[in-house]
């Protein structure tokens, strides 16, 4: 319902071309609504699913608001979503009246998704680095074309556009749109689709702000079950309740349970309403008892692992759960070695640039306090930006290494006699040079030369 929840966003959702669009595969109407939701029409476009929730502890993978999911529910389509991403390709025009061209592909690797027109066709399954447009750019983009025949094939260099996405997910070209933009260039829009099932780390939330990530996914046969054969879709830890005081969620569970057993939708307001659309908790309890449930909404469950009854009655019933758009697949990131920034030669920052994970000041403080000097040395220098410099022990300034003469030399003293080699972070060398450019002379005094 909020802006993070997935569901139907509009009736034209499949004809739109949003940069990023998340849709739920099987959205449902909430069992319990409020009058306002109905007036605004919020329940017309589903934003979640009615999950049977058991409020209990299970397996320890549900601490800190994490939820345990039933694998069979996921197999049957619970929380399944469709992610649509847009990728645009522009055929550039250049000042010398040449332009990019799209050519028919030869039988080359990574071009299996392409059609005869050189553009990936809808319905094709693509992987990382697969080419979407077989585009070529002229080698000479500045000078006027002198030959009368125009450009030949060898005057073009390939400038293919490929799909950059996570590996492992099946990705499909959903739609392809050709259009011209305001500068009269031909553009191609690709809508790329992924169908995802929930995995460990995906975020879910009820409508009471009780958000949590999937801690583990458990087989249905290991899940607790009731004598009627009801098996929850998800297990939520009861520790989420006392401090947050989300009474509304408990009423939703109770009301939802009464709603499904009597086959009606109600309002979930706490006080009941004169319209009779909402029920007070007492009325809900009465309905529950009529349908053979306990008036507190608790059920007698058996452990799916041993088959023995659980020690306590379990508060179980339907709660409207939303899948939020934060999914691990879009966030997970790891790096061993990779790109570095040109200025500082340190690893880049951020997932989009395949960046490193920063060992920040506070982490460094911890290591200092512990005395792990070699670890600090490794993290801050060896794994970051090690650099070898020639230092003049006499003037304390950085010199250079002459590869032809195979000697190092100090440009200040004009001699290579007092040179010494040492390692320091490239950023440190950069700092010295910047200081020098500002007329500040940093001099190094080496204890061991």
């Amino acid at each position: 319902m909020g802006k993070q929840a997935m569901g139907n966003i509009a009736y034209n959702q499949l004809s739109r071309a949003d940069t990023l669009l998340y849709l739920l595969a099987y959205p449902q109407r909430p069992l319990l609504t409020t009058r306002t939701i109905e007036l605004v029409g919020y329940d017309k476009l589903g934003a979640g699913q009615n999950a049977t929730v058991a409020v209990m502890s299970y397996s320890g993978y549900d601490i800190e608001d994490a939820i345990v999911m039933n694998k069979s529910s996921l197999d049957r389509g619970f929380g399944r979503c469709i992610a649509l991403k847009k990728q645009t390709v522009v055929t550039e025009k250049y000042s010398n009246e040449t332009s990019d061209r799209i050519v028919r592909p030869q039988n080359e690797p990574r071009k299996q998704a392409l059609d005869d027109d050189g553009i990936a066709s809808p319905g094709q399954i693509i992987r990382k680095h697969d080419i979407l447009v077989n585009k070529q750019s002229p080698r000479n983009k500045r000078d006027k074309i002198t030959t009368s025949l125009g450009l030949r094939d060898i005057d073009y260099a390939p400038s293919n556009v490929s799909y950059k996405g996570p590996e492992g997910e099946t990705t499909v070209v959903d739609r392809v749109t050709l259009y011209t933009d305001k500068d009269d260039r031909m553009c191609i829009k690709f809508i790329i689709r992924q169908v995802r099932r929930p995995e460990i780390g995906d975020k879910f939330s009820s409508r009471h702000g009780q958000k949590g990530v999937v801690g583990t996914i458990v087989q249905q046969e290991d899940f607790p079950f009731s004598e009627r054969g009801i098996c929850p879709d998800l297990i939520m830890n009861p520790h989420g309740f006392p401090s947050r005081m989300t009474i509304g969620k408990m009423i939703e569970l109770l009301g939802g349970k009464a709603g499904v057993s009597s086959g009606r939708f109600h309002y979930g307001s706490a006080f009941g309403e004169p319209s009779g659309h909402a029920d007070k908790v007492e009325d809900i309890s009465r309905t529950l008892v009529e349908h053979g449930f306990n008036y507190t909404g608790k059920d007698f469950l058996y452990s799916g692992i041993t088959g023995k009854p659980l020690q306590a009655y379990i508060f179980m019933g339907p709660i409207y759960y939303q899948k939020l758009k934060h999914m691990v697949l879009d966030k997970m990131h790891a790096r061993a070695s990779g790109p570095r920034m040109t200025l500082t030669r340190q690893p880049t920052e951020g997932r989009a640039r395949d960046g490193g994970l920063r060992l920040g000041e506070m982490e460094r403080d911890c290591l200092i306090a512990y005395g792990a000097s070699m670890l600090i040395y490794e993290r801050l220098m060896l794994s970051s930006d090690p650099y070898q410099v020639q230092v003049c022990t006499k003037c304390g300034l950085l010199g250079y290494y002459n590869h032809k003469l195979k000697t190092s030399c100090c440009s200040m003293c004009k001699t290579g006699k007092n040179m010494s080699t040492m390692k320091l972070p490239y950023a440190c060398k950069l700092l010295f040079q910047e200081l020098q450019s500002m007329n500040v002379v940093p001099r190094l005094k080496l204890t061991e030369a």
């Binding site: 529910s73 049957r76 319905g123 008892v289 799916g304 041993t306």
Partner: protein, 272 residues
């Protein structure tokens, strides 16, 4: 065998049996045995389900993966599942799982040419093996043979098409188990319960007035007890639908636990 002394031999009594519903009592054993049966029924009894879909044309509103997922969940008659091979240990085909020993091919070819929306259902699936067809189609043809055919009954809807839309695909059904994917699970739900053995303290009951007895019977929300109209004695209704509601008997003096298994909705016969 030396261990025979402590070996137990469970007893089974069948309560109800329909094509899609089964209820039986299992006595003289432990919860672990009943639970093992339950777990095996959910997760390890092999069935056949659509596993691979090759889409030739799809101009419907649902995308390819969506349709493939929906096709996978259609239950198929799995009487032949025991004779079939798992495609992973089939040596007739080189692991592609498309030979006659480990797969059944289905075709779907539908196009909507009328102004009305067309429902593509499990009826439209054409199987290459007449013994492996969608369960609802099989039960309907069985019903039509015996005369009780209901023409209103539709199959399982896969997708709806409007004018000009088309769906053409080839699907391969394979043998699998519920542990790998819920589509291979033969049971809608399997559950069991300890059945309470109820002893009514007749002596104490005698001291109650009819009015009190009535209110005592009424106090059970699931109507487990009855008052005998002749003798005004209280009976336990053994077959009341909710006779198994355990915790309402908690206040009662004595009850033992013989085991009772209730298995519901095995959508088709499975040769265990």
């Amino acid at each position: 065998m030396e261990g025979v002394s402590y070996q137990r031999f469970p007893k089974i009594k069948i309560r109800e049996m329909k094509d899609d519903y089964f209820k039986f009592e299992l006595r003289e054993t432990d919860a672990s045995m009943a639970n093992a049966l339950r777990r095996v029924m959910i997760a390890e009894v092999p069935t056949i389900a659509i596993d691979l879909v090759e889409i030739e044309a799809n101009s419907s509103v649902l995308n390819d993966e969506f349709i493939a997922h929906r096709l996978g969940l259609i239950p198929l008659v799995s009487d032949d599942a025991m004779g079939m091979r798992f495609s992973r240990d089939c040596d007739a085909c080189d692991g592609d799982g498309q030979c006659e020993y480990c797969s059944v091919e289905f075709h779907l070819n539908v196009r909507c040419d009328s102004d009305q929306t067309l429902d593509v259902t499990s009826n439209d699936l054409r199987s290459t093996e007449p013994r492996v067809i969608p369960v609802d189609v099989a039960s309907r043809s069985l019903a039509s043979e015996s005369g009780g055919y209901d023409s209103q009954e539709r199959g399982i809807i896969i997708v709806k098409l409007r004018r000009g839309q088309e769906l053409r695909l080839r699907a391969i059904a394979r043998k699998g188990i519920g542990k790998d994917h819920a589509k291979w699970s033969p049971a809608a739900t399997v559950t069991f319960l300890y059945e309470p053995e109820i002893h009514i303290n007749e002596e104490l009951m005698e001291t109650l007035t009819l009015e009190e007895k009535r209110s005592w019977v009424e106090s059970s929300p699931t109507k487990v007890f009855d008052i005998d109209p002749d003798t005004y004695q209280i009976d336990y209704r053994f077959n009341s639908p909710a006779a198994n509601w355990l915790h309402i008997f908690n206040g009662l003096p004595a009850f033992k636990f013989p085991l009772h298994i209730l298995v519901s909705e095995i959508p088709y016969k499975v040769n265990v």
